[in-house]
């Protein structure tokens, strides 16, 4: 049986992890490679790295970092943040990234999705959608939710699929960082409207939130950041909880 995936997300700035990390004793909690290795050992199913560098200088640290991550871990990982061109993607994929996620650039230039799918294969192309509930409608937002468009999130998800996206990373801006649980309604609606896998994101605060989103929506993966970084939930314990509650997840093989 195909397992539901648990995906920690790491924010990277100028080659370093930014959010506070306290879930495990690391020699250097700011080192994304060490953190990635620790998550892989905890049975994370995939990892997402989001580059939030504000400067070109900071961005230049990404490709060498991706190469180090690829050498260090034996699970798939996605890299996103600030990707705007085919060349950006080519550098990341040849550095060892399995997938890339595109967000604003795809909204501004939808043919980019098709271009990337043709060249690198759909399985490499994750379209990240930041959905925000505005006047009763989930619309696509940009710039971390600060700007909203009039484009309904469901419409955009379907268009992304048609253009060749291999997966949707759906973040509820309303719930992100609240710990109140995933937005089940939009996660369900998007999952039902596309045939590609959907990763639910934004709002995870307890193991029950993961159970709920897997049980009540068609998403096949769930992503969280703070919760894992601060050790509020440890991945092996989360997986034990999900298994006890009839959600199929990959367990760490006995050592």
């Amino acid at each position: 049986m195909l397992k539901k995936r648990i995906i920690p997300c790491l924010d990277i700035k100028d080659g370093r992890t930014v959010k506070g990390i306290s879930f495990v004793n690391l020699r250097d909690a700011g080192d994304p490679v060490e953190l990635a290795r620790a998550y892989a050992e905890q049975s994370a199913d995939e990892l997402v790295f989001l580059d939030i560098s504000a400067t070109d200088e900071g961005r230049k640290t990404l490709a060498p970092l991706v190469e180090k991550i690829a050498n260090a871990i034996n699970i798939p990982f996605t890299v996103g943040g600030g990707i705007t061109t085919r060349e950006d993607v080519s550098v990341l994929i040849s550095s060892g990234a399995d997938k890339v996620s595109v967000n604003t650039a795809a909204i501004l230039n939808p043919p980019l999705i098709a271009e990337l799918a043709d060249e690198f294969g759909s399985q490499c192309v994750v379209v990240a959608i930041d959905a925000k509930l505005v006047d009763g409608t989930w619309v696509v937002s940009t710039h971390g939710g600060k700007r909203v468009t009039t484009l309904p999130a469901i419409t955009w998800a379907r268009e992304a699929e048609r253009l060749g996206a291999g997966e949707i990373l759906l973040t509820s801006v309303n719930r992100d960082g609240t710990g109140e649980g995933f937005s089940l309604d939009i996660t369900s609606a998007v999952s039902d409207n596309v045939n590609i896998p959907v990763i639910a994101s934004g709002g995870a605060g307890s193991p029950e939130h993961f159970r709920e989103v897997f049980a009540e929506t068609g998403c096949t993966a769930a992503l969280a950041a703070t919760l894992f970084h601060y050790g509020i939930i440890k991945i092996p314990e989360l997986k034990d909880f999900l298994m006890r509650n009839n959600v199929a997840v990959r367990n760490r093989p006995p050592v």
Binding site: M1, L2, K3, K4, R5, A40, D45, A70, N71, N74, I75, P76, S94, S95, G96, D98, G121, S122, Q123, C124, G166, E167, N195, I196, P197, G218, T220, A221, R250, N251, P253
Partner: protein, 193 residues
């Protein structure tokens, strides 16, 4: 020496670093002499069948692969290229495995993406130490039908070939290079055949 076939559809770096983690050095090459001499040849694969087959044929690498006598391992698209034909752009493939590669039915969630276990496993050196409940990482929209060379069956929507073997040709649909300990085990089995 281990050779990883360099062509237009390989995630060669991931395979190379996975081998390195196991303590094996490898070369990424399309040089026929090196490929013929290698102790093991790995055909990785991420991409589309027709452009991959065209690329191989233009360089006569299709005939070279068929002439190999050492253990050869196809991964993902590599497995599909070793079959007779693929529905992906109606592509004539290498024909090592007498089976057809089909697309998962429309209106189902594809690609089949994530960790999946086996429906059944044969006792064979390639799968030594792997158990039915072990999860491996898959990403694919096409699958090889079950056939006489099927050594492991995975089920997603329907049962399909997760691992196959015909003489010295081995193939897996999952990505052992991205499948944590279980994947490492499979690669090690192949290298120690």
């Amino acid at each position: 020496m281990i050779a990883i076939l360099k062509y237009n559809s390989g995630n060669t770096m991931s395979v190379q670093v996975a081998l390195h983690r196991l303590g094996y050095e490898s070369v990424v090459t399309s040089d026929p002499e090196i490929l013929l001499k290698a102790d093991r040849v790995i055909i990785p694969g991420v991409g589309e069948a027709r452009s991959a087959m065209n690329h191989l044929k233009e360089r006569s690498l299709d005939l070279l692969i068929l002439s190999l006598k050492q253990p050869v391992l196809g991964i993902c698209l590599g497995l599909q290229l070793m079959c007779k034909r693929s529905e992906e752009n109606d592509t004539e493939c290498l024909g090592i495995f007498n089976t057809i590669v089909r697309r998962f039915p429309p209106d189902e969630r594809v690609p089949h993406m994530g960790w999946n276990s086996f429906e059944s496993l044969s006792v064979t050196p390639l799968l030594n130490g792997l158990k039915q409940e072990d999860d491996l990482y898959y990403v694919h929209s096409y699958y090889a039908e079950l056939n006489n060379d099927t050594k492991a069956v995975c089920n997603y929507i329907l049962p399909f070939s997760a691992a196959m073997q015909h003489d010295n040709f081995y193939a897996v649909q999952f990505h052992p290079e991205k499948s944590a300990e279980a994947g490492a085990r499979l690669l090690k089995n192949f290298l120690e055949l």
